[in-house]
């Protein structure tokens, strides 16, 4: 009996306190409707995998973002607005990618760049879409932005995986290679690549058959067994989809096993490190990429040449030579787009309005935008903005005596 009494008392008191509080309560999502006073700083958020399994990719991304922001603030910011960049590390943790996105939204950022990996981006985009905040991802999974109709608030800057794959297939087709073996990482990047590599429409379009599909774990000690399996088939080439260290190990193992069919990798190996760890085995490896790796070979007429040279010079001078890589580029492109939107943003918009403006601007007004990844043309149908015809979208890089060279085909 007394128990019930106790509960009753507690309840009454709780309700009373609630009533007290409830007087001034106002429900509703984050943000707040007060217009930003002029010359107040523009807040931008960034989420990268700086630790954990994706940190090899995420490592240089914040550096690129910081670099641009510092340059802008050094020149007095955007229309008198200081640029304020908050970078968070989601530790390659998906739930954390979502909660950090929410945290940034609560901090009132106008746009978010990142996360680094496809999985994390897909988690974060749920939060940003709910809160109507533009997200410019640095991951290449096409399911982040495709179909654009369902991803109104989401963009990404890397070349989409299937474009890279088509680029490889065109190359194989021209080389009359029809039988390929796949060797893909079991982590996100590799799995997504595998799904695209196996797409029937692409295979038939380029007349390619997959004779064996093997996978490996990012931290496996070696990949010889998978290569042995491939050795038993009549594969004419090996396509490896993954980032460090897998492809390097595979290159070395193929050399060890005296397999002399070509090894073709993804744009996920466009680091110096790949060559460093693969050693001489790296020679002959072919991969699709943006033009950054071969900037020196670009003709002066190339729209990207000057831009890329400047980017690489700035980056290397600030962070040490050879550190500029395509991943830094993705982050650089992402934040540049947001910056351009901000430069064209009228004064006195509320946070919500500003967010909407940035989204609309990126979708409709990022045209002939020269970035590290290529020349972007965003549209309501294309939230990646890079050309979809393989040969325009990407070039092929071949590693010759430990150097990136432009494989013109």
């Amino acid at each position: 009996m007394r128990n019930y009494l106790k509960y009753a008392v507690v309840l009454v008191l709780a309700v009373a306190l609630l009533a007290l509080g409830g007087m001034s309560c106002s429900s509703g999502g984050g943000g707040g409707a007060t217009p930003t006073p002029s010359a107040a700083p523009y807040k931008i958020g960034a989420i990268f995998a700086l630790t954990g399994f994706n940190s090899t990719l995420g490592d240089t991304e914040p550096l690129a973002a910081k670099m641009l922001v510092d340059q802008i603030n050094a020149n007095g910011g955007i229309n008198g607005h200081h640029l304020e960049l908050t970078i968070y590390d989601n530790e390659s943790d998906t739930v954390k990618a979502a909660t950090l996105a929410d945290k940034l939204i609560q901090d009132g950022v106008l746009a978010i760049i990142g996360p680094t990996s496809t999985g994390d981006s897909n988690a974060a985009k749920v939060e940003t879409a709910k809160a109507e905040v533009p997200l410019v991802s640095c991951a290449s999974g096409s399911n982040i932005v495709e179909p654009a109709g369902n991803n109104t608030w989401t963009f990404n800057t890397p070349q989409l995986d299937f474009v890279a794959i088509e680029r490889i297939y065109t190359y194989l087709q021209e080389g009359n290679i029809t039988k390929v073996a796949l060797l893909t990482d079991t982590a996100g990047f590799g799995k997504a690549g595998l799904a695209q590599l196996k797409r029937e429409d692409l295979l038939t379009k380029y007349g390619i058959t997959i004779v064996d599909a093997e996978t490996y774990g990012t931290y496996d000690v070696d990949m010889q067994n998978q290569l042995n399996n491939i050795g038993k088939t009549d594969a004419q080439a090996v396509i490896c989809w993954g980032t460090n260290p897998g492809p390097a190990i595979i290159a070395r193992d193929m050399k060890t096993l005296k397999m002399n069919i070509p090894l073709i990798c993804s744009h996920g190996i466009a680091f110096r490190d790949f060559i460093d760890i693969a050693g001489t085995a790296a020679n002959g490896v072919v991969f699709p990429a943006g033009k950054l790796p071969v900037v020196d070979e670009l003709p002066a007429t190339d729209p990207q040449k000057d831009f890329l040279e400047k980017f690489r010079a700035d980056f290397d001078s600030q962070y040490g030579s050879g550190r500029a890589n395509t991943f830094a580029g993705h982050a650089y492109d992402a934040i540049s787009m947001v910056v351009q939107a901000l430069e064209n943003m009228p004064e006195g918009l509320s946070t919500a309005e500003a967010r909407a403006f940035i989204r609309d601007y990126i979708e409709n007004d990022i045209k002939d935008f020269v970035g590290t990844g290529g020349v972007f043309n965003m549209s309501p149908q294309n939230h990646n903005g890079l050309p979809r015809t393989p040969k325009e979208a990407m070039i092929l890089v071949k590693i010759d005596n430990m150097k990136w060279t432009w494989l013109q085909d």
């Binding site: 106790k6 306190l17 954390k96 979502a98 897909n122």
Partner: protein, 327 residues
């Protein structure tokens, strides 16, 4: 008289806590932490299960993320791929996870102590690999998006404001139920098993059966939490259920003081606050500090932060009392 007065004070305290929790999601109060609080609530539910299993019954599990993930994926797949009503999916998930726990329970509890830890760790890893590899169902490492929200009739839990109350309602229910179980003959049986299996047998407690039952209960709780997780994030991927997340769950339980149900709230709260509010500023160094804190807590308060704080509080109160009684 004094006694009664004191009782009313304690009621007031409880009421204040309740009111505080009810007010959190309002913007003019702590609204900006709503999402964080939702995750704390979800992780509390898993942690409570772990407390029952590890703290009270003394059975180590380094693979709790397996059950957590099973709940999440079954709910996600049923509701998204097969269009099952989310509540239905949630129940099916709980039943399946419970059944799974029951099946593995009997063989696995032939092991004790460290060997049990090894086996559960192995199970956790196997489930994680399955989540990754069965991509035709699970979407692989990139995960599944487009999972629906929970809804009651037309009332959809689509704002974090609404989900906050949903999750914490679950959380409170779980806490009260576990509280009751601990206080009951079941709870005594579990604690007896922890105390001495031989003595427990001698007074008629079926040790193995109770171990299995409590494993099932903790698995069902983990499964519920998993379902809430996906219906909250509308997204799920395997990485949320890897070995480290099993470890994080254990850490929450231990910081909350393994053998204290209400400590679970604290444990889940502290760990997530630590990693998502306090440490995020130390970009890159956050995990270093996190590791350091783990070690220090385990060294200086092996019974958990919560228990330690309770001790300190008690000591202060006693000192206050004494001062009060001094003439």
């Amino acid at each position: 008289m004094l006694v009664r007065l004191k009782r009313y004070w304690s009621y007031l305290a409880i009421a204040a806590v309740i009111a505080f929790f009810i007010l959190i999601p309002f913007d003019w109060f702590l609204g900006r932490y709503t999402t964080l609080m939702i995750f704390i609530g979800i992780y509390t539910i898993v942690t409570v299960g772990l407390c029952l299993l590890m703290g009270y019954t003394g059975q180590v599990s380094l693979g709790q993320a397996a059950f957590f993930g099973m709940g999440a994926y079954v709910s996600a797949i049923l509701s998204k791929t097969y269009g099952v009503n989310p509540w239905g999916a949630m129940i099916v998930a709980a039943v399946m996870t419970g059944a799974f726990a029951y099946i593995i329970g009997y063989p696995i509890f032939r092991l004790k102590g460290n060997y049990l830890a090894m086996a559960t760790l192995g199970l956790g890893l196997i489930m994680w690999i399955l989540f990754k590899e069965l991509s035709q169902f699970t979407g692989g490492p990139d995960g599944m998006s487009g999972i629906p929200f929970l809804a009651i009739g037309g009332f959809i839990f689509d704002t974090s404001f609404r989900r906050y109350f949903l999750v914490w309602a679950f959380c409170l229910a779980v806490l009260l139920i576990s509280q009751n179980i601990i206080g009951s003959r079941i709870g005594r049986a579990l604690r007896a098993i922890h105390g001495s299996e031989a003595a427990a047998e001698s007074i008629g407690i079926n040790v193995t059966q109770f171990k299995v039952k409590i494993l099932v209960l903790s698995a069902v709780l983990a499964s519920l939490a998993g379902s809430l997780l996906v219906f909250n994030m509308n997204f799920v991927n395997p990485q949320t259920f890897d070995f480290m997340s099993s470890v994080k769950l254990v850490v929450m339980a231990v910081i909350g003081g393994l053998a204290s149900i209400w400590g679970a709230v604290f444990g889940a709260g502290v760990t997530r606050l630590l990693s998502e509010e306090l440490l995020v500023r130390f970009v890159g160094w956050d995990i270093v500090i996190y590791g350091l804190i783990l070690v220090l807590i385990m060294i200086f308060m092996p019974d958990g932060l919560f228990v330690k704080l309770k001790e300190i509080f008690e000591r202060l109160r006693l000192r206050y009392r004494q001062r009060g009684t001094e003439p």
